[in-house]
Symmetry: D5
Subunit: 158 residues, 10 copies
């Protein structure tokens, strides 16, 4: 079990004054130290409750966002991730832009070895759009892996 | 969020004078600039509402068209893609030809790093036909990847 | 096996001069005699390849049409039903109107004991619309059954 | 366990001289006595390997046949049912006719309290056809139940 | 196809000045005349893109809303229904309240013979909550049917 | 929680000298008192590990057995039910007979208000056989319900 | 939206001092007033995170608990329901007993018009056990409905 | 759209004198020119209506045949493929032999760059048999790919 | 079709004196010559009817056994494989041992180029155990492939 | 079948004095010798009944734990694995920590050639978290394979 010192920086979990921001707020993201740096491992988040706005018409869009990353020194705290996701609620951007922005914010927060972000957006006009972006830390083997992973999300959809 | 300049060339989205062409019209396709050229990423479209005609008998055919591409400088605007897809409505061609034509039109529009197009056609005479075509930009690593990807659509079908 | 006399009126099946009409054409429907009038039975058609147009915007719509009927003296010939369904291709009407029209045309053709027609239309604007209409021949027990059957399609969708 | 007397009339099961007839042969059906006449019960057969011919074009058709019955004095032996089903292989008839014929042959063999037969035929021309016929023994409560059961197969399909 | 007169009152469909309200706005709902008053029929809407707020904590909630109704003189226009659904975006209420409010607003707009509304809300704290409300017009047979329908949504969930 | 007195008669649960009989052994069944006689309730068992032998050829058969009952004074203990099911391992009987025998043994043990037993047997010769038997205690309302329940298992299979 | 008065009695929602009891604690359940007493409606809870102990061996058991009820004057608050469910964590009882206890506690709290509780327990020894209990308020039509609902859970399982 | 010259050799499509052969007839296969030789692409056929006979007992067998190939100069015409498949109807051979024969006949017809054929046969005696054969044109990269593809069909089955 | 010479050694197929052994009997396995030695191909068997005993407690275990192999000179005859599988009925061994034994017996019989065997055992104590063993003929490329295939069964399970 | 010597060290299987510990107890794990050291093989465990506590709030968490390993000299005994899993019942730790701890305990017990552990945790706050950790024995080829396997769990989820 984690000591209190190991939980330093985790301020939102179990806190009852939660503020739900609805404009893009990357500053709500929190991290805590990775206690298993000796072995690389993968952490997956499934976020089926994402909504944003169309940047041209203002119409609400809905998506399931999937995140996979290999941590280096830090892990993202999941309640802060929830609040970050909710902060897109009144933000207008194309689907392709939202997915790239989420990936870049998490790279900035965590400096992970690897990360990928996928958006499964609900159809508009009879067509569905699913962007997938990823990143491998330069100078690690994950830089090359990122390129081969571009096709992974395609193949797990039926 | 995109500035107006970043949306230049996007004329169909939110426009209420939409014309639904029903003869093959590649000219309706529109593109807009990719704001994330620093990292390769994949964009997927699912188009379950495709219909064309048999080139010999005139009988309507129905398919789900799936498109995956890695953009270079441009992204295809999704409403224009919808209108392009609808323009096959009175066009007669074999399933294998339709899929290759769609792929070539998008290569011409976007000059992407990579693209693949798959057609899941409804059965005729107790047999279903699913063509899959792809393209990797010459001189990039995606030229070789295209060859290995020929088998990808097979393996994600159950 | 049916004698030639029992196939009288069936002109489209196996005919190679098939004309695919694309404007509403109820006159293509054909019927043939029911050889089992001694026992009531149900005949089901699943038609996943239906397309029509929005009556206001002209945008193509797509649906799966499901038909269930209890014949009296006649059965509808399935190839003629296919041609009838295809004839909505350039017809513009609301989803609710298409389903009611199909039901009424089949009542007129077959004078069946019972019939129900359901349309599973593809979503528009994030909402799907499924109309369900039915009919029980006046003076039979199916008149009352028709009312209770209004809820049947709801409950078989998950 | 059944005594030999209780298996009298069962000649095909475990017999290695099996003849696979391919023209309609209701005479291959065999029955054996019901040992549980004190309580009504239901027996279900799923036969996913049915094939016949189109009566007009000769094209092979394929179906899954589902049979449900409440026995009275006799049960149908399952290997003989298999051979009966196989005997439609070179028989030409409309889907609606095949299903009614199977039901009537089993009524003749078993004189059951109740029986229903459903055919799930593979699509032709983009349309699937599923006939459903049933029978309740006159003078029993199953005569009335048969009428309400006409809608049962519809509602269990999704 | 509908004449212009038959489309009177439909102002939002095909209109490019769409305003997406995000506070509860029942006034955006529009209706048009039912052209098939001679036969009762069912109209179903599936709305998987509903979001509202928790009335106590302000946390966003997400749901799929399902609506089934039997029209009397009017049908609800589907684009106006979409805008109405979107108007709950910044509205705070318990799940049970949202579902009852939607039902009552549609009763007021359409005065239908029958209507039912179901909400499939995403889980909170490991528990999912699905409210189901309905209404049958007083003095019609649907008043009694409404009571038996209270159990319908339960039984179609697996 | 149950007192020791309330567990009297439960000898197999937690006992490490379990004997797995492989010839039909109805005597292994154990029961314990129903503590909720004030309200009728349903108890369901799913037993996917049933195997017996063909009475004529000796070939092993496999099935999933489903049991539903409304208790009166007693409940069957689930470990004893497991041992009873396993005791059919070297027993030869037709599928229809196995299902009726299981039902009758449980009626004898429990004297329940209602019980039904269904067998989902693996296919032989391309055909699957599913028997369904039930019982309602004479003089209760479940006697009549048993008759209508004969069709229940059919309709929940897809 | 609910006024503060309408939320009186709701003490756990949004409270950050949540205590997770692990011995049976019916006293944690909270209720709030039903604002829609004019129309009967159904409220469903899905609780896939239930765990208790075997009363004889102490082995942990796991289940999904499903609750459906028609409120009268009160609704159960969902966070308090979560805490109540968690309080079975170190409680030992047979599956049949747990389900009846949950139903009775909710009847006592809410005095609802109707309630049903189902437990989908994980298999033990190759057999799964699913109890289903229900209650209709004496003197209402739901008293009779409760008896017919005993079979509902069986039929929605596949 | 294809010109008449580009359809030369296609004699069966749209022809109403179709003969359905039921003894192995590789001569019915027809081909037409590939108009997209500049890019390799994959063509998939799903044939769920295959039936043949056991070479020793004469019992009918049923299978779904799946074909994937990369064309070189020619494509197989789909109606001729249907007739070829139907010609196995009275042909007796082991499952493993049927699949290899189909592959070899298509290699002979098309001289493709790559081809694979899979048979999903219905179970016999409680066991299902699925053969998978493939071929890569000697001297191309597909010769080596064929060997790695031997495992592909296994892994896409669940 | 196979000549009689090509069927030499196949003694069980179509034979009516089948003996069902219930103690481990590898000697019942039969083989016949591979007629397609020019191209490597894969043969898959699905055996969902496997049962054995726990070596310590004697409790029956149930599994689905999956076999994939690339033949060299011989194929295993499927009826003999069925009898071999049934012979584990009274054999006691750990799951991991059963799967390794089956693989080794088939290697001994067939001397195949490659083989893999997987067991999907039913859960015990809330945990399922799935062993997977394989073999590549020494001196062939399949020796190395066998090592990479160790992970294949994991990834096709969902 | 295993001799008694080969079962030495297996003390929990078939033992009726089972103690269910609820605080983290790695000492309950037991192992037995691998009888097939000549061929590498994979052993998979699916454990859908895992529960632990949130380290900060104390709220119970639920998960399905999946374990895959290639044994060297030892196999883990499955009943002891069950007891080990149950011992997390009152242990508080983050999801990422639980999965890494389980993996490390099994490495310590078995010194396997390869192992991977995945946790499919139930959603909290609308987000699901799935950690995946693995290990390849240093100096074997599995050390490198472990790195590529980090992505395996992602791709088998749909
Ligand atoms: Ca996906
Ligand atoms: Ca479709
Ligand atoms: Ca596909
Ligand atoms: Ca439906
Ligand atoms: Ca089939
Ligand atoms: Ca069906
Ligand atoms: Ca959603
Ligand atoms: Ca969920
Ligand atoms: Ca539902
Ligand atoms: Ca099974
Ligand atoms: Ca069933
Ligand atoms: Ca669970
Ligand atoms: Ca259930
Ligand atoms: Ca397959
Ligand atoms: Ca598997
Ligand atoms: Ca998974």
């Amino acid at each position: 079990m984690r000591s209190e010192a190991e939980l330093e920086g985790v301020t939102l979990l179990g806190n009852n004054k939660t503020q739900y921001k609805t404009t893009y707020s990357p500053e709500v993201l929190e991290k805590f130290p990775n206690k298993h740096p000796g072995n690389d491992y993968m952490v997956t988040f499934n976020c089926p409750e994402f909504t944003s706005l169309c940047p041209k018409t203002g119409q609400p869009d809905f998506a399931e966002i999937k995140i996979n990353y290999i941590p280096d020194q830090y892990l993202v705290e999941s309640k802060s991730l929830k609040l970050y996701m909710f902060s897109f609620r009144n933000h207008g951007d194309f689907h392709e832009d939202c997915v790239n922005i989420i990936m870049k914010d998490l790279v900035k927060l965590l400096n992970p070895k690897y990360i990928e972000v996928e958006g499964i957006f609900m159809p508009r006009g009879g067509i569905s759009l699913y962007p997938f972006a990823n990143y491998g830390k330069p100078g690690t083997e994950f830089e090359a892996i990122a390129k081969t992973r571009l096709f992974a999300a395609i193949d797990r959809r039926k």
